[in-house]
Chain length 266, copies 2
């Protein structure tokens, strides 16, 4: 398997080609790092209206970048040659809310009624943080970001409801303050943090045991800083139990042609 | 003595008239609350150049709003009828770096070579915080804000040097994040916080014993949030030991005619 650094400066098309060929099947943190990555949710048309309202009501965890026509696997607004059936490194397949498989392609499962939702991902603001000299431990250590379910309830829509999932990055106070300023400019990719400091206040018992992704150390002079995360819909899908659903695997995102800085206000 | 609420909605001219008449001799938190208040430093012309460079090098604690001509007690940029010799509720008089008096007027001490510096004050962004529904405990309790010397060194200029002084407000995480966004718009009045969380990391041993102002409780679900403070020059004056100096007493500010929102970017 290729190591992340080899793909760091890759073009989105090159990165997708490696993924499509099955040579990269893992998390995409740090890959094609100037380009927007997206969380993916694919649902039958019968559930798509409810899910669209769920995103509208929960813009911090579910910032919509694109929605496909039913049955379409191309996403021309996000890249010229995207095929969402084969361009995600690893998928999760859900039936009636149960995770049943984690394949590297879903072309054989495709249906004419499937609608693809692509949601912004915090990886987009990581580049802006690193450009300011703010080190991110999970990137430096080549790990997936740590993600946690919280006790913050999302606003329901139809059957979709459940806890907000957050990603956590440990930062010293001054870097945390600067990170709040920077990520406030990126509303399309979760925006400002939803919490920082004591994890128990949002229902997280143990930072060393993330619900998704990899644990990283939080040092004595650091604060854990929590951003709303695009894995939130996966918790809602487990609650809503749609008859069929495909998502990306946490951290293994769709790489698009958009540039991260295109998403910044100001 | 008048209670603060009676002056909350006062015009700046009315508030200054009460102060000038000696009927308000205390801190000005919450008085004429839509108007800019200023930290005051008055120095002989011989020290004024050094102090101006000190402010330029330390814009977070020392954001300059106005500098007078030598000997002038009017500040037309800040208000039509300001007389800086009598319009501050309580002054501090320093000789060779020693605090020697805390009078309510300094007209009798005036000299033709005195230059007045007015620095922005965090009270200006408190109104913006409260307009967003962010409660400030010291305001609600009618106290002066709590201020602390830190181990953060300012950048020296001539004889002026010393620790940054900060003001502290306890906030829950979500309010702290919003407060960082709001105060980032107010660079002329200290801007974003310089620290939040563990006070020991910036050399503060005991939050219940402020170096200036009044202590307020920090509850278990709150973070202490620290902003650079315009009392910082008073620590520098104690180091520089200019032969003569006048400042405001911590929290007892000059009330100007400017509106707080005029200082906001965006």
């Amino acid at each position: 398997m290729l190591q992340t650094p080899l793909l760091r400066d890759a073009s989105p098309a090159k990165a997708r080609a490696e993924i499509r060929a099955g040579r990269w099947q893992s998390h995409t943190s740090g890959i094609a790092e100037r380009h927007v990555q997206g969380n993916v949710v694919i649902l039958p048309e019968a559930s798509a209206g409810d899910f669209l309202r769920y995103c509208q009501r929960n813009p911090k965890p579910c910032p919509l970048l694109a929605v496909s026509e039913p049955g379409e696997w191309a996403l021309p607004a996000l890249g010229t040659d995207i095929d969402v059936r084969i361009d995600v490194p690893r998928y999760r397949v859900w039936r009636h809310g149960e995770l049943v498989a984690e394949p590297t392609a879903v072309a054989e499962l495709w249906r004419d009624d499937l609608v693809t939702f692509v949601l912004g991902c915090s990886f987009s603001f990581e580049q802006a943080l690193r450009d300011e000299g703010i080190a991110l431990r999970h990137v430096d250590e080549g790990r997936n970001v740590a993600m946690f379910r919280t006790n913050i309830a999302t606003v329901p829509a139809g059957p979709f409801r459940g806890p907000m999932v957050v990603s956590m990055r440990p930062l010293r106070a001054r870097a945390a303050i600067r990170a709040i300023q920077i990520t406030s400019r990126f509303a399309a990719v979760h925006g400002a943090p939803v919490h920082l400091g004591d994890p128990a206040l949002i229902g997280i018992d143990d930072l060393s045991r993330p619900d998704y992704g990899d644990a990283v150390d939080v040092r004595a002079d650091e604060l854990p800083v929590f951003w709303a995360c695009g894995v939130t819909p996966q918790a809602a899908i487990a609650q809503a139990r749609p008859e069929f659903c495909i998502t990306h695997a946490p951290g293994a995102m769709l790489i698009t042609d958009l540039l991260n800085h295109q998403l910044a206000s100001f």
